[in-house]
């Protein structure tokens, strides 16, 4: 389809505006991460948009090095929270993917599972805030409070619906003939699954897993209520970045925010093509 030059101009104008709005908050955070304390906040009317004296102090600071300007040293560095976020998200993803794709395969091939799909939709529909009290009590009883594995278990359950629906779409789309042919040749069901189905599903599995990882990595609420100290995650830890010497440690928060933004953005770009299926619970036929 050919478009008129006027349309092209209009299109680029709108897109440039949209890109600008998209990038301003992210750019502000990125710029803040490299600003020395004197440039964090406007005094009077001199807001600093771009660091005048760029520094890595904010990054050094959150990893425990004291900077000359923020004379407080952190009692807890960002290293452990980053580890906590990684462990809980990765293992949460594994739980969701293992249970989710098994169930999806079972439903797609054997029509097993009863009302599982509906239950999973309900699980996603319901605000997690409203079940946190019993979950806190259960987790304390099971000694799972303030552990990354406890967090990973909740994450696995909360993102199970996505893992399930995504994988179900992929299994539904996969031609059965190949599996059936292998079955006829006398392979066992399990062997077929291992040798035929799984290799074919490698790419969908990877992209679904990355998608679920992004969701887990994004959590704030659950970690806020289920962790205390040892395994607080990045967003929870971020709240503690303030001091009586300097007030809010905006630079340190921005530096950590930037670090936290990187994994999902990379993962997101990597799975761009499959993203849309995850977000539609796999209901979109492509």
């Amino acid at each position: 389809m050919r478009r008129s030059p006027a349309f092209e101009l209009f299109r680029y104008a709108v897109i440039v505006l949209a890109i600008a709005i998209t990038l301003v908050p992210i750019a502000w955070m990125a710029s803040m991460a490299f600003k020395p304390i004197a440039e964090w906040q406007a005094t009077g009317n001199n807001l600093t948009w771009w660091p005048k004296n760029p520094t890595l102090d904010n990054f050094r600071f959150i990893f425990g090095e004291s900077s000359t300007e923020l004379i407080v040293a952190l009692e807890r560095t960002a290293a452990k929270p980053i580890l906590a976020s990684l462990l809980a998200s990765v293992f949460g993803t594994l739980i969701a993917m293992a249970a989710g794709s098994a169930a999806a395969y079972g439903l797609s091939r054997f029509k097993a599972g009863g009302n599982l799909p509906l239950a999973l939709i309900q699980l996603r529909l319901f605000p997690p805030m409203a079940v946190m009290i019993p979950v806190m009590i259960m987790w304390a009883f099971l000694k799972l409070n303030d552990t990354w594995w406890g967090l990973a278990l909740v994450y696995g359950i909360v993102t199970l619906p996505f893992a399930f629906w995504l994988m179900k779409t992929f299994f539904d789309e996969m031609p059965r003939e190949i599996e059936e042919a292998a079955l006829v040749e006398g392979c066992s069901r399990f062997r077929v699954f291992l040798k035929v189905t799984l290799p074919m599903m490698a790419a969908p599995l990877a992209s679904s897993a990355l998608f679920v990882f992004i969701l887990n990595w994004s959590d704030y609420l659950i970690a806020l209520l289920l962790t205390t100290r040892e395994w607080v995650t990045i967003p929870v830890y971020m709240a503690s970045l303030s001091s009586s010497m300097t007030g809010q440690l905006y630079g340190a928060k921005a530096a950590l925010g930037l670090i936290a933004a990187v994994p999902p953005i990379i993962a997101g770009i990597a799975i761009q093509k499959h993203l849309v299926r995850g977000l539609t619970f796999g209901a979109l036929k492509q």
Partner: protein
């Protein structure tokens, strides 16, 4: 991760922060940085059984066998000898305060944690809790039987609430056995037994050990108040001399005078946000009568929906005029940050503000050497001047009912919360625990970090401090007041409506708590209100 690892990580951190600490120490106490340690005391003074050594003046913090600290250490050692002591005591502590226990101060000294571990052989495991989440995390541990802590450190106001849950233990037997001498007239709490009852007790039993002194105090900028041009301009405009305000009216006028947002300067930045602002309302309200305008009558009837309540609320709203336009969303980090960057003429904050901001070691602060302290503004009533400030937050340590070693936990608290160790700890610039005992106010090292000019004002402010609500339902009472006050600040409610709504919510809460409990607690609380009234002239 094993404990071993955790400790070494902390030690690593402490080492990493030494540069900063030295910088801070240089600014605060130059005489402690001397070549070598030739002048420092490396050993305990004669007759002492424990305490820090290795710096000048260390003997002030050492103790003999017949002191609260000495008795605590010896009792712990004998528990240890009998095999009844735990390997470790887990102390939950808000993040911002941990430094005072883990960072050595002054140069040459051990840290408090090191000293305790060395003297008792018991590991002190300090678990940080995010600032502001102390009560939440404690309640979570209690209600879910989490058992993560031996000791909780929670705002003092919540002692009644916590005691009612049964999640913390009564310390009466331990107090009787080990005699902490908190009411010592020379070194102990202000107001002796009365002060102990206010800070540590609920319904006549000891449930907490105070580890803090959050008496809200006022600061101003000496450079602004001292500038000849400002003085002249002020006198010309208002007809009296520019000096720290004695009344709320003067405070409002001086604040308006200094309100210059285009130059990044606000009048007074005492807080107005949710969660903190109402402490400043308290000050205006309680000074409405001489000697005090109470919150509740003796029969439990709320007194806030009155002429006095209305007037205090209206003043409180009007004062927004000379604050940052963001005042309603500013919390203390914004307040401290702004004051440190020279953005305010006056403010009301925790007593540690000069420790952190009038501090040459804090190179981010532009107000070092330019901070002064003043008594809270007050009100003229029948020729008297009623100045009132408020005790609020103030971390207290309590022992978890789930602790398997309550006696050892208590002994740690007796050691930590007694005047020798506490003076040494509060002088440390690494955290938020502030002076509150008589011995703290006169201690040279404390006076060094908190400054002489400030310490005397703090002591006098303490004498004019009203306790905030500390009876069961405290959280709910304060939330109701707080939310209505913020609604009045944003214009969502009129001042009169805010007071009326608070009153009706308070009545509801009182019904839930139970009258008998409440009346007794109100009476105890009232007994601790100050009687000091200044002469106007």
């Amino acid at each position: 991760m094993t404990t071993q690892n955790r400790i070494s990580r902390r030690q690593l951190l402490a080492t990493g922060s030494k540069g900063a600490l030295v910088a801070a120490a240089v600014g605060i106490a130059p005489q402690f940085i001397r070549p070598g340690r030739a002048f420092a005391q490396d050993a305990l003074a004669a007759g002492m059984i424990g305490g820090p050594a290795g710096f000048d003046g260390a003997e002030r913090y050492q103790y003999g066998p017949d002191t609260p600290e000495g008795r605590a250490i010896e009792a712990l050692r004998s528990l240890k000898g009998a095999g009844k002591a735990p390997e470790r005591i887990v102390l939950g502590l808000s993040d911002g305060s941990i430094g005072q226990l883990t960072q050595p101060f002054p140069a040459g000294a051990p840290s408090i944690k090191e000293l305790f571990e060395q003297e008792t052989g018991i590991t002190l495991d300090i678990v940080g809790v995010p600032n502001g989440q102390e009560f939440t995390k404690t309640m979570q541990d209690i209600s879910t039987n989490g058992g993560q802590f031996d000791i909780y450190a929670v705002e003092w106001n919540r002692l009644g609430d916590l005691a009612e849950t049964g999640g913390i233990i009564k310390m009466d037997d331990f107090v009787a056995a080990h005699r902490p001498e908190w009411d010592d007239p020379e070194r102990g709490y202000v107001n002796g037994a009365q002060g102990v009852s206010l800070l540590n007790q609920y319904r006549g039993s000891t449930y907490g050990v105070s580890l803090d002194g959050d008496f809200q105090t006022w600061n101003y900028r000496t450079d602004l108040f001292g500038a000849a041009a400002e003085q002249k301009a002020f006198a010309d405009k208002y007809g009296y001399e520019l000096k720290p305000p004695r009344t709320w009216k003067e405070l409002d006028e001086i604040s308006s005078f200094f309100f210059r947002p285009d130059q990044g300067l606000f009048g007074s930045t005492d807080l107005r946000n949710q969660g903190w602002g109402y402490t400043n309302w308290y000050q205006r309200y309680t000074s409405m009568a001489s000697p005090n305008q109470f919150l509740f009558a003796d029969d439990g009837k709320p007194l806030i929906n009155s002429e006095q309540g209305l007037a205090a609320t209206e003043e409180y709203i009007k004062s927004l005029a000379y604050k940052s336009p963001d005042a309603i969303s500013w919390s203390w980090p914004e307040q401290y940050g702004n004051f440190g960057s020279g953005g305010a003429a006056m403010t009301c904050a925790f007593s540690n503000l000069p420790k952190f901001l009038d501090n040459p070691g804090n190179s981010g602060s532009m107000v070092s050497g330019k901070v002064g302290s003043m008594l809270p503004p007050g009100r003229e009533i029948g020729g008297d001047l009623v100045r009132r400030t408020v005790l609020w937050l103030n971390l207290s340590a309590s022992i978890s009912s789930q602790s398997k070693h309550p006696e050892a936990a208590y002994l740690l608290l007796q050691w930590l919360g007694s005047s020798r160790i506490y003076s040494w700890m509060t002088a440390n610039p690494g955290g938020y625990f502030d002076p509150f005992q008589l011995a703290n106010f006169s201690d040279p090292l404390v006076r060094q970090t908190y400054h002489d000019y400030h310490m005397d004002v703090v002591r006098e402010s303490v004498a004019r401090t009203v306790p905030s609500i500390n009876y069961p339902g405290a959280t709910a009472f304060h939330n109701a007041l707080d939310e209505n006050l913020v609604a009045s600040l944003t214009g969502a409610k009129s001042a009169a409506q805010a007071m009326a709504d608070t009153e009706s919510e308070w009545l509801k809460i009182a019904g839930r708590v139970g009258e008998e409990k409440l009346l007794e607690a109100i009476k105890t609380n009232k007994a601790a209100w100050p009687t000091v009234v200044d002469r106007l002239s």
